[in-house]
Point group: C2
Chain length 332, copies 2
């Protein structure tokens, strides 16, 4: 097999836990194909450089045949240069005594700089997946300052929320996940997220059965929502570390959908401009999306019920408040 000219994949927070799960899987060719060579640009902050060097030693010792070049840096203006893809994992973790506002205060400036850097040095066609929390608002800040990059190119990861919902449904229905379609989350990647099953169906022998006929309403709006909202905390409690492998997996799923297309709806945190669901413009909001030819579209033909509308509103309010705080903080 002849190999394709290298593409450049930039990853921030590359010394962190999600990166450790993600990078190896990218290096095997799982995401971009077994003939696609790669320049990896790994970005983290000064204190994490030794960890990054150790990771690079291990990547060298894995002899991945697709790796063309590995660069590491603390400077996003170097790290994003000519990037075809940028995966923004790097962020300050939230510690126990911090409010959401404190976290925004720590993280918004990071994504402001990274947005500027992307704008200046990445390819104009770069696809950006933001993962660091609070992810919706971080992605919005990135988009705001990445003036030369179309806002459509910047996506916040809400796929893990969708994946978690699917795994719960699969268990509840004792059916394979690949038979469960059109389940997605609205809004913020936070405890306010709302999983919408009203369009979901089970596909078996070409027959579609609506999920609402298979699971009772009370479970859907009660226990199910709660499990999904608490899933991240549960994993943290068990592992003593937050979700890393499943988050990396969701990043891969998100990019695979975006690049290779989808048949049914997937959750993506995307710019709200021109959406048909009364979400105000200029928010990064998780919508049901379909992808084709490397672009996403918000599903247009859904009819959220009253409860769903209420939950969308709740997420809108939360994200408006996050945006207000972040933009206030970033004012020059």
């Amino acid at each position: 097999m002849t190999q394709k000219e290298p593409i450049t994949v930039a990853i921030t927070g590359a010394a962190g836990n999600i990166a450790y799960s993600l990078i190896y899987r990218i290096c095997t060719g799982e995401l971009f194909g077994n003939d696609q060579t790669l320049n990896l640009n790994l970005i983290d902050i000064e204190p994490a450089l030794p960890i990054l060097e150790g990771l690079i030693m291990e990547l060298e010792d894995s002899n991945f045949h697709l790796i063309n070049k590995i660069l590491f840096t603390i400077d996003p203006f170097e790290g994003f240069r000519d990037a075809d893809y940028a995966i923004l994992l790097g962020a300050f973790p939230r510690n126990k005594n911090q409010t959401r506002k404190d976290l925004l205060g720590k993280n918004s400036p990071i994504f402001k700089i990274q947005g500027k850097a992307l704008s200046l040095v990445a390819k104009r066609t770069v696809k950006v997946v933001v993962v660091g929390n609070p992810v919706n608002t971080n992605a919005l800040v990135t988009a705001k300052y990445a003036e030369n990059i179309p806002k459509e190119n910047i996506v916040a990861l809400t796929r893990l929320d969708m994946n978690r919902s699917l795994s719960q449904l699969s268990r509840k229905l004792t059916k394979n996940v690949s038979n469960i379609k059109n389940v997605f989350t609205w809004g913020n990647h936070s405890a306010s997220q709302f999983v919408d099953l009203s369009n979901g169906y089970l596909l078996e022998n070409s027959k579609k059965t609506p999920l609402t006929e298979l699971v009772d309403e009370e479970w859907i709006s009660g226990e199910f929502q709660k499990i999904n909202q608490m899933r991240g905390k549960e994993v943290l409690l068990k592992r003593g570390k937050s979700s890393a492998g499943s988050a990396a997996n969701a990043v891969l799923d998100c990019l695979k959908s975006w690049i290779y297309g989808t048949e049914t709806y997937v959750s993506m945190g995307v710019i709200s401009d021109n959406n048909p669901y009364n979400v105000p413009e200029n928010l990064i909001f998780s919508f049901p999306c379909t992808c084709k030819n490397g672009t996403w579209k918000i599903a247009k033909d859904l009819k959220p019920n009253e409860f769903c509308k209420k939950m969308i509103k709740k997420n809108v309010d939360e994200l408006l408040e996050e945006r207000r705080i972040a933009f206030e903080l970033l004012k020059d």
Copy 2:
């Protein structure tokens, strides 16, 4: 694509670091193929069970379509049942004040029980890769007590040593690793390991150039050996954690070679019976091996030079001593 009936893959130390890197890559189908469904049997000890549960939650949330069933247990007699493959990562870590003897004392009993369990409940055709240190002697103990399993089915991981040597050579020669052939290590996975380049060559445009013509003798027997011996420590120093991703990668490389065959020599720690290099019988020793149809063979036609013979002898002595200590400890 129709899926194949599940095979059972048992992994000990499944809550540990190497496992966290390894299991996701196995779940993608990278090792056994994209049509091979899997039963995963995850084994660890009591205190690690919450971590294991957290891992399983994350695996569920990754919705791998190849997973048929996940079982977790602290009982190897349950965990190894019907195993087609067993990957033995679980071991006590060596802490600073421990001698090699202390470590053997902690770990030999683990591998004695696991050998017995494999013997009793695994498939007779099970392929076992031992990774937990001291890996050669742990594998020997496993083989001794796995009376119903052919000794050929139990291999100690020395592939990471080979991979590290290749990455150093690639850097030194500024050549792609895939062009460097027949480099391997003799003996123990310890600081005594000896990388043998005397059969190695660079393959370019169908032309083979012996490595000994490309790198000078002094570098080979001096700095090169030292870098390889110290590589694990270097990574630990940088990362603050020992090699995990690259070790998982080496496990995958080892199994791929064993299952799918090799063109040239690879390092495998295998039973020394009937070897042509004067290594005493009944040791697990890293030899240059070739694989075909799911079985390995020790390369027969090599002529180690005097220095190499001296290094083989050094490794033999070290492993005889490890064996003496372990078997003494395990005497009923």
